[in-house]
């Protein structure tokens, strides 16, 4: 009977019992048919219950029993070597936990479809080509008027759904004093219906909620937000809140599980697209376009129609471009439309983190392999000690299959224990990593359900891992030759050779992990340590809003007011903080003709801003209170280099669109938008405009006297509305925090990679120690003889180390080779670091050598200090 049928029998107890009693019953009826007295037959037969039990045991127990016995035996084996087992379980658990955790993240961010009807029919529209800035990219944004044209054009084949970028905004359910924050997303009214979503409470939007601009002040809450904010109170229907000077009414709650269309951000409040000012602007790209195919619709047909509309709109738009280089224009018009599957939704985080997560998965996989190798060599080493036990089992009649089962059950016990450690680790670590994806005040939120996908992965991982490290020892065990083993061991060096091969593999994997981690760390280092061109010390950025928008002159009053409190050194106003990711750009012409096809960046600043930021003036002057826009401009050195061939531009003029500006000052370069791109040509222009146009929001930068600028935060927050009641602070950050948020991804990746590199080193060190220790133990007779005949300590050390160091060297060489190959794959994640950076390579090899030396100190010392007499006497 095959193993499967037996296993099956274990699980079909009830049926088996029924069959047995039916067979016994049929025996008795047979007896009756043949004319025997039923009573006599029954007596002759004996207790049916007892027979049935015996039969049942015959058929089920042997298998169950052996499994149980093997499990108990495996557990005892583990307990016999407490320290080694604990180390194996912990290291394996860590590696497995990391794997499960990585899978959870990848699944949640990249694989899992959104909880909508027929997610496979969901696509999204992209533009591929050059944006006005001349960057080749896959664009996602769309303008609403164009979206409406497109929707009408593809009506037959697909429904188009608009969804804005998720945004964290302020709202209040009561007075202005009770401002809170929530994530909102504007979506097409027909989205819920198209997606087949049913309300958890109240109603969801329909097409009629999204018809006229600014006419549908209704909101649908997400289930998660309803739960967190309102404790699932059904009375939430009909409540209203203020947001953006509008009063919205809550009409319903979306079904559980639907958290918007952006994995990584959970939408709290859904609003109809018509409530966003952008619906009437044909130059505001603020929505993503989802394409929900009809069952019989053709994706190609949809693409072609979208392309036609897109081209017509773009050509029309290009007519309005002023000062636009011709080549740039052609590139701009050659953009293509793509319609790609988007069943999982679209988000910045998904885009930004898909490759890092894959790199992480590879690192984690390598660490898992290292851990498996460790356990395999641990088991092989123990197997040596158990060779006699195995031989004994074979000689008293245990089959090969039985021995294989014994060893595999042992490794499964180990893997199961490790996977429970791993499950704990994964339970904690996946949300921890997600929590570090965005700046601390607005962390990414990702639904991380622990459902059958995760459980299935973990189970498969456990079984896979058990086989991976169990199969070598199991094969060795089943190949035991009783005669040679009982006589004192077969070829002991065969086992050692296997272990040394494993060491080479382990060192190789470890080198790859070290190298990649080294590259990522160096890249992060480069990124954070490069000069910004301004000083972030003791600098606060206050994002301030005015309701309603206020003319610059009142902004100036607020500025003057903030100069007074103690602790404030300097204050100035800018459109937004440097390095916040924001930017405004345009083409620059000199004397009426395009000066370059590179874009210049602009930033509105008040007088004194340069001094507050500590950006040194090279020539010319700072703005004066009477400077207005358009008028004077202060440019950086990159600007002078790009448009004036590096000559001192002070006093010269340039045009931005139709505005003519005169350069009054030249300053040193400072980073503007982000840390990644090269320094941009930048022009600073006066905050005050000539027309005194009201400003809705701006940033007040405050240089404090105190070393901890945040200690002034509360005071400043109170002082702003005191200056003028229309103003309030919406956010306070230190400039240092803003700078750091530029490299969050790099920091996270570098930290995780370093962590895994540490684990890999530790595991490889443990593995090496185990192998050396084993080989010293096994060769102690030989070593004792060598010492007895006068070998020096150095010679002994060399004997012990030679084969193993050759293996380490071999593994390191392979590791370096694979590392160089693998590094090419991460090159897009690197900043100013080449994927074949030699110093990183040397450093990782050096780390490997150091850890190998540390791991060999104890075994080598033990070998050198062997007392020949004692050893040889015992033998």
């Amino acid at each position: 009977m095959s193993l499967w049928i037996r296993l099956f029998n274990v699980f079909r107890n009830e049926r088996l019992s029924r069959e047995i009693s039916e067979e016994l019953e049929s025996h008795l009826s047979e007896a009756e048919e043949r004319g025997r007295d039923p009573e006599e037959a029954r007596r002759a037969f004996g207790s049916r219950l007892r027979i049935a039990e015996q039969s049942f045991d015959m058929r089920v127990l042997p298998r169950l029993d052996s499994l149980r016995a093997d499990t108990i035996f495996g557990w005892r084996q583990l307990r016999k070597h407490k320290v080694a087992s604990a180390a194996a379980i912990l290291s394996l658990g860590l590696a497995m936990g990391a794997s499960i955790s990585t899978f959870r993240l990848i699944d949640a961010l990249l694989l899992r479809p959104m909880p909508v009807a027929n997610p496979e029919r969901l696509y999204a529209m992209f533009t591929l080509g050059y944006d006005p800035g001349g960057h080749f990219r896959l664009g996602e944004s769309n303008e609403y008027p164009q979206f409406q044209l497109m929707r009408a054009a593809v009506k037959q084949d697909a429904e188009l759904i608009a969804a804005s970028w998720g945004e964290r905004i302020e709202l209040t359910y009561g007075s202005d004093q009770e401002i809170e924050k929530a994530h909102r997303q504007f979506v097409s009214g027909w989205m819920f219906e198209s997606f087949g979503l049913k309300p958890a409470l109240g109603r969801l939007f329909t097409e009629s909620d999204d018809e006229k601009p600014h006419a549908h002040p209704y909101a649908v809450l997400s289930y998660d937000y309803w739960t967190r904010r309102f404790g699932q109170d059904p009375k939430v229907l009909g409540r209203s809140f203020h947001m953006d000077n509008d009063l919205y009414q809550i009409v319903g709650v979306a079904p559980q599980g639907f958290t918007g269309t952006e994995p990584g951000t959970m939408t709290d409040i859904f609003l109809p697209t018509m409530m966003y000012a952008g619906v009437t602007h044909d130059d505001w790209g603020w929505i993503r376009t989802f394409v929900y195919m009809r069952p019989d619709g053709s994706v190609t047909a949809v693409r072609d129609r979208l392309q036609a509309v897109f081209h017509a709109v773009q050509s029309e738009r290009a007519k309005g471009f002023v000062g636009f280089p011709k080549t740039r224009l052609e590139k701009f018009l050659s953009q293509r439309i793509l319609v790609l599957p988007a069943s999982g939704g679209l988000s910045y985080i998904r885009q930004e983190y898909s490759q890092p997560l894959k790199v992480l998965a590879i690192l984690v996989g390598l660490v898992l392999l290292i851990a498996c190798v460790n356990v395999a060599s641990l088991l092989t080493g123990q197997g040596a000690a158990r060779a006699r036990e195995m031989a004994l089992r074979v000689s008293i009649g245990a089959g090969r299959g039985r021995l294989t089962q014994l060893v595999l059950v042992e490794s499964t016990v180990l893997a199961a224990l490790a996977s429970s450690v791993g499950a704990l680790f994964a339970w904690w670590s996946a949300p921890y990593v997600v929590g570090h994806i965005n700046p601390a005040d607005d962390p990414a939120r990702l639904a991380l359900p622990a459902d059958w996908r995760i459980v299935g992965f973990s189970l498969a991982l456990t079984i896979g891992v058990a086989f991976l490290f169990g199969v070598f020892p199991a094969l060795r065990a089943s190949a035991t030759q009783p005669v040679s083993a009982l006589k004192g061991g077969d070829d002991p060096s065969a086992r050692r050779r296997l272990m040394q091969g494993l060491i080479a593999a382990q060192v190789g994997f470890c080198c790859v992990v070290l190298f990649v981690a080294g590259l990522l760390t160096k890249s992060f280092d480069r990124m954070t340590n490069q000069p910004t061109g301004f000083s972030s010390e003791r600098l606060l950025a206050l994002d301030v809003e005015a309701r309603p928008s206020q003319p610059p002159i009142f902004w100036n009053q607020v500025l003057e007011h903030l100069r007074e409190p103690p602790g404030v050194e300097r204050v100035a106003i800018a459109g937004w903080p440097l390095l916040s990711g924001f930017g405004s750009n345009g083409f620059v012409s000199v004397n009426g003709s395009p000066a370059s096809d590179r874009l210049a960046y602009f930033l509105n600043v008040s007088p004194g801003w340069l001094e507050t930021m500590k950006i040194p003036l090279v020539d010319g002057r700072d703005f004066r209170p009477d400077d207005v826009y358009p008028g004077g401009a202060i440019v950086n050195e990159a600007f002078a280099k790009e448009y004036f061939d590096g000559a001192n531009p002070v006093g010269r003029e340039f045009e931005r669109g139709k505005m003519r500006l005169q350069i009054v000052g030249l300053v040193h370069n400072a980073r503007y938008r982000n840390m990644r791109e090269p320094i941009t040509p930048t022009a600073y222009i006066p905050f005050r405009s000539g027309s005194n146009e009201p400003v809705y929001n701006a940033t007040l930068v405050v240089r404090t006297i105190s070393e901890n600028p945040l200690s002034l935060a509360d005071m400043l927050r109170r002082e702003v509305p005191r200056a003028r009641t229309e103003f309030r602070v919406s956010n306070i950050r230190t400039q240092a925090e803003i700078n750091e948020s530029q490299s969050i991804r790099e920091r996270l990746l570098a930290n995780l990679a370093l962590f895994f590199a540490g684990v890999a080193l530790l595991l490889a060190g443990m593995g090496l120690y185990g192998v050396l220790d084993y080989s010293v133990l096994q060769r102690r007779r030989e070593i004792a003889i060598r010492i007895a005949v006068g070998a020096s300590a150095g010679r002994i050390a060399k004997t012990v180390m030679s084969r193993t160091s050759a293996m380490v060297a071999c593994g390191a060489a392979f590791g370096a080779g694979f590392g160089l190959l693998a590094a090419r794959y991460v090159s897009t994640l690197l900043y100013e670091v080449k994927p074949n950076d030699p110093t990183v390579l040397v450093r990782s090899l050096f780390a490997m050598i150091v850890i190998s030396s540390i791991a060999s100190i104890v075994p080598v010392t033990r070998a050198v200090t062997i007392e020949p007499l004692a050893v040889l006497k015992v033998e």
Partner: protein, 109 residues
């Protein structure tokens, strides 16, 4: 090997032999066959036959299937497997060796 049969360890041999000659018997028929062929000398204890059958089935010497008889009742019938035939051959050999040895002892002593 559990001592559940009164045939001193030879029940397996008899069952295998009978099934090799007449495949497709159910438990009761095996029992009566042993009785009839041995002219009522050997009698398998009815209760111990089934555990023995199930043990041999588990060991892969015989296999079973359910059939429906003419009277509509279901019966579980057995037949020999390839391993069973090997087992039968070696058991038979062993039996002959043992009986020959026993006979020799009886003659010589």
């Amino acid at each position: 090997m559990p001592k559940t049969d009164s045939l001193q360890g030879s029940l397996d041999l008899l069952v295998l032999k009978i099934l090799s000659r007449r495949p497709g018997l159910h438990g009761y028929a095996i029992m009566t066959a042993i009785q009839e062929i041995s002219s009522d000398v050997l009698r398998a204890e009815e209760g111990s036959l089934y555990p023995a059958l199930h043990r041999m089935e588990e060991a892969g010497c015989i296999r079973a299937k359910w059939v429906t008889k003419e009277n509509g009742r279901r019966a579980r019938i057995y037949e020999l497997t390839a391993r069973g035939e090997q087992q039968l051959a070696s058991e038979e050999e062993r039996w002959h060796a043992v009986t020959a040895a026993v006979n020799r002892v009886l003659r010589m002593a």
